[in-house]
């Protein structure tokens, strides 16, 4: 069965600093990969997704992610974090033949001013 691992439960960065959130997946073939953000009191919002093609994908709010097949990873990055980026971030996978999302346990991002 597919699974997603987010090894960092909690990350703190300073505003303006760069950010990388780690995500590793376990699946036999190339899955469809997603990053979602969940802010307090708000629903999950899709940041970006990878299906095929260019392994570096751009998303909303200045986020990007890179798919690395050799490492089974799909890490999320942002060059300069803003205080409003403080939220919970979830990596998720959809196996090629299924429709349901399998989520990681999430990484809580705290931004210090």
């Amino acid at each position: 069965a597919q699974s997603v691992t987010q090894p960092d439960i909690h990350i703190t960065v300073s505003e303006g600093a760069s950010l990388e959130l780690r995500c590793n997946y376990s699946y036999g073939a190339t899955p469809y990969l997603f990053w979602y953000v969940q802010s307090p009191g708000q629903g999950l919002q899709l940041l970006l997704k990878y299906f095929s093609g260019d392994t570096l994908v751009q998303g909303i709010k200045g986020f990007e992610a890179e798919f690395k097949r050799s490492q089974s990873s799909f890490n999320l990055r942002k060059p300069s974090v803003h205080w409003s980026d403080a939220a919970e971030y979830f990596c998720a996978v959809v196996p090629g033949t299924a429709s349901k999302l399998t989520f990681g346990t999430g990484t809580r991002l705290q931004v210090t001013l």
């Binding site: 429709s99 999302l101 399998t102 999430g106």
Partner: protein, 114 residues
């Protein structure tokens, strides 16, 4: 346009009671999903509807959980004989056609079982 809506936003009930949670998907979306998110965890899949039928109910934890979507739009998640372990945020999502199309999530219903 309107996003996915869920009612109620909060539900407090007593152990053993029956509850219904409602989801209104985005108009025109044929696929509808229910997920459950426990404290400190990522959402876990419960059930997926394509139109009126449950295409995948493999995530329902036991037979106390049931969901319907009789007209292919609004869905209701029903929980019988609630237990304290059912306390969680129940999320609904919809997508245009299912598959790997983007899923749009509602704000969730926080269920507390006392």
């Amino acid at each position: 346009g309107a996003g996915v809506s869920q009612t109620p936003s909060n539900k407090v009930t007593e152990k053993g009671k029956y509850v219904e949670l409602r989801c209104d998907p985005i108009s025109g979306h044929t696929a509808l999903y229910w997920y459950r998110q426990s404290l400190g965890q990522g959402p876990e899949f419960l059930i997926y509807f394509q139109g009126t039928g449950a295409a995948d109910d493999s995530g329902l934890p036991n037979d106390r959980f049931f969901a319907v979507r009789p007209e292919g739009s609004v869905s209701t998640l029903k929980i019988q004989r609630t237990e304290r372990g059912d306390s969680a945020v129940y999320l609904c999502a919809s997508s245009l056609h299912g598959g790997y199309n983007e899923q749009f999530f509602g704000p969730g219903t926080r269920l507390t079982v006392l």
